[in-house]
């Protein structure tokens, strides 16, 4: 296999030396590798957000291993109390904390480096970060203290300690401040004409993520504030059906933020790793527009077998108004790899249908992580998601293990893996530290992807026999009326356990080199060493 040397040099054009945007002197540096102007304040925020993100990834990952080893019925590690506690802890650390901290970092990067702009407000940056950090620490503390065994969804009238709701509100407010700071930066960049024409595609994708995030966080405030007031007995009732409806405006829409951010990262890594160009700006941006307009209706997927909302509401919203957001994902699923294919063909890898794919830089974890993320998201996450989210099909899927089987392929195999791939560029370019243990980095995306795929398949198959998600004991031992499953269920739960453990190894293979690089890595003085 030919390894394309993915030196960013050559893959990127010489950026004009003139454009310094609106940075006051002394507040920016020019990246020796990419030629981008890096705002020093924004750089600081990208760094602390990334560090916090990785800490929560590790915490959530440890919980993940414990959960996988509990669902693996032959091991059944934790007791019931800690199993449910860890499920709550894992969900919030992974789906909320790891991903939100990463996303704020990505937004700050997109608005400042790619638009050659200063950050709109450093104070707002600190305020947002402080809210998020304090909220996150409170959240983890109250869960570990055993005061909030309510799952990530915390469906009322199941009740957690008020600190739990307050912590989520703080995280949401902090994130909203970050998102507004991003939008304000986009505004001042346009006002100060730091770029001409339209914003770069990656920034457009980041704007898409930010817009979805605004809707998400408004729903979050709309439900968590009344729930907090209920938890301190200021109001006496929160309607459970209304809670589910508005809560999923937070819970599912936040996953759409991930989709938009992940697709932007795909485009970015396509450019950074093989010099891919956007084939058709209009097509890619229109696809993002379809996300902005329609993807948030998909929160209805969680209410398909609920009482109260009508079939009309379910069908219309479940179809995202006509599957237009699915169309958007199918478009990105073509344009992203096609851009890679065109770039590699232009570099001379023209043999056959897939010669370009064989010649791709598979030893560059930035590339392999990104491409595996694309494949897992599309082939497993996307297909299962649209199918399970069909109004009637949901009857045979709701709250079974098929659901986590689906979203681990989208959020973990898709988003998390893409963000890890991005980190292989963030650390040398933003932290300016070299990765040690490069063999481990090269192998990491494969190990992690294999683990997640196995785990996702194990969950999906076990779920198709009706095994419930979030159940400590699949055999329901001690229950008044016994429950039994097809014996193959235990084989699939074993696959889940093995896959989950393998994914945890893959996670450590990411965290260890990243932490070593950030704190002890060799300084990158000039250009980033090629992967």
């Amino acid at each position: 296999m030919t390894t394309l040397d993915p030196t960013v040099e050559g893959a990127l054009p010489e950026t004009e030396a003139a454009g310094r945007g609106n940075h006051p002197p002394g507040t920016f540096r020019v990246c020796a590798t990419t030629g981008l102007t890096v705002d020093l304040a924004a750089e600081k925020f990208i760094k602390i957000n990334a560090v916090f993100a990785v800490v929560f990834l590790l915490l959530g990952g440890i919980a993940a291993l414990l959960l996988a080893l509990t669902r693996w019925s032959a091991v059944h590690l934790l007791n019931a109390e800690w199993y449910y506690r860890m499920t709550t802890f894992h969900g919030l650390n992974m789906l909320i904390l790891w991903i939100l901290f990463m996303e704020i970092g990505i937004l700050y990067f997109a608005a400042t480096a790619l638009l050659k702009s200063r950050l709109a407000s450093v104070k707002a940056g600190w305020a947002g970060f402080a809210c998020m950090a304090v909220g996150a620490i409170m959240l983890d503390a109250v869960i570990l203290a055993g005061k909030a065994d309510v799952m990530m969804t915390s469906y009322v009238p199941l009740r957690a300690h008020p600190t739990f709701y307050l912590a989520i509100i703080l995280v949401a407010v902090g994130t909203l401040i970050g998102v507004i700071n991003f939008l304000a930066t986009v505004y001042i960049a346009k006002r100060d004409k730091t770029y001409s024409g339209s914003v770069p595609l990656v920034v457009f994708g980041a704007i898409t993520a930010a817009i979805i995030a605004v809707s998400t966080l408004l729903h979050g405030a709309g439900i968590m504030i009344p729930t907090f007031l209920w938890s301190i007995d200021v109001i006496d009732h929160v309607d459970p059906a209304a809670y589910r409806l508005v809560w999923w405006g937070l819970g599912h829409q936040s996953q759409q933020v991930n989709v938009a951010a992940m697709v932007s990262v795909w485009y970015l890594l396509g450019t950074l790793t093989v010099g891919a160009k956007v084939l058709n700006q209009g097509v890619s941006r229109t696809a993002f527009l379809l996300y902005i307009l329609f993807i948030n209706l998909a929160s209805a997927h969680h209410l398909l077998v609920d009482p109260g909302v009508s079939a009309g509401w379910k069908i219309w919203n479940t179809s995202y108004a006509m599957y237009l957001a699915v169309l958007a994902s199918m478009i990105h699923g073509y344009t992203v790899p096609a851009a890679v294919e065109v770039a590699l063909r232009k570099q001379g890898h023209t043999k056959g249908l897939f010669g370009w794919l064989g010649a791709a830089p598979w030893k560059n974890p930035g590339f392999s992580g990104f491409f595996l993320s694309l494949l897992i998201f599309g082939f497993i996450g996307g297909i299962t998601g649209v199918t399970l989210g069909t109004e009637q099909i949901n009857i045979i899927a709701h709250n079974t293990l098929r659901i986590p089987g689906h979203f681990h392929a989208t959020v973990v195999g898709g988003t998390s893996l893409a963000f890890m791939a991005l980190a292989y560029y963030v650390v040398p370019l933003i932290f300016r530290r070299e990765f040690p243990l490069r063999w481990m980095c090269r192998a990491q995306p494969y190990v992690f992807a294999a683990g997640i795929v196995l785990m996702s398949l194990g969950m999906s198959f076990a779920g198709s026999y009706g095994v419930s998600r979030r159940s400590w004991d699949v055999e329901a031992s001690g229950a008044l009326h016994p429950v039994s499953y097809d014996p193959s269920v235990h084989v699939w739960l074993g696959v889940l356990g093995i896959g989950g453990s393998l994914a945890f190894v893959g996670l450590l293979m990411f965290v260890v080199p990243t932490v070593l690089a950030v704190f002890f890595g060799k300084r990158v003085e000039a250009k980033m060493p090629a992967w």
Partner: protein, 57 residues
């Protein structure tokens, strides 16, 4: 839109002519076709599974 490309293949020339758009990505197209076929199979298999359960309204 000014572009200077090292390779002078025909498709690139033509695509410059038209602005954006025309490109040659048969591998990706094949991959996406495989995706579509898997999608169709999985989707209808689920409708089939649904048709086997109790009737409910």
């Amino acid at each position: 839109m000014t572009k200077e490309e090292k390779s002078g293949d025909l498709i690139e020339k033509e695509s410059e002519h038209r602005g954006d758009g025309l490109h040659h990505a048969p591998g990706t197209f094949t991959l996406t076709l495989i995706l579509l076929v898997s999608f169709v199979v999985y989707y209808f298999a689920n409708w089939k599974a649904l048709a086997d359960v109790w009737h409910v309204r």
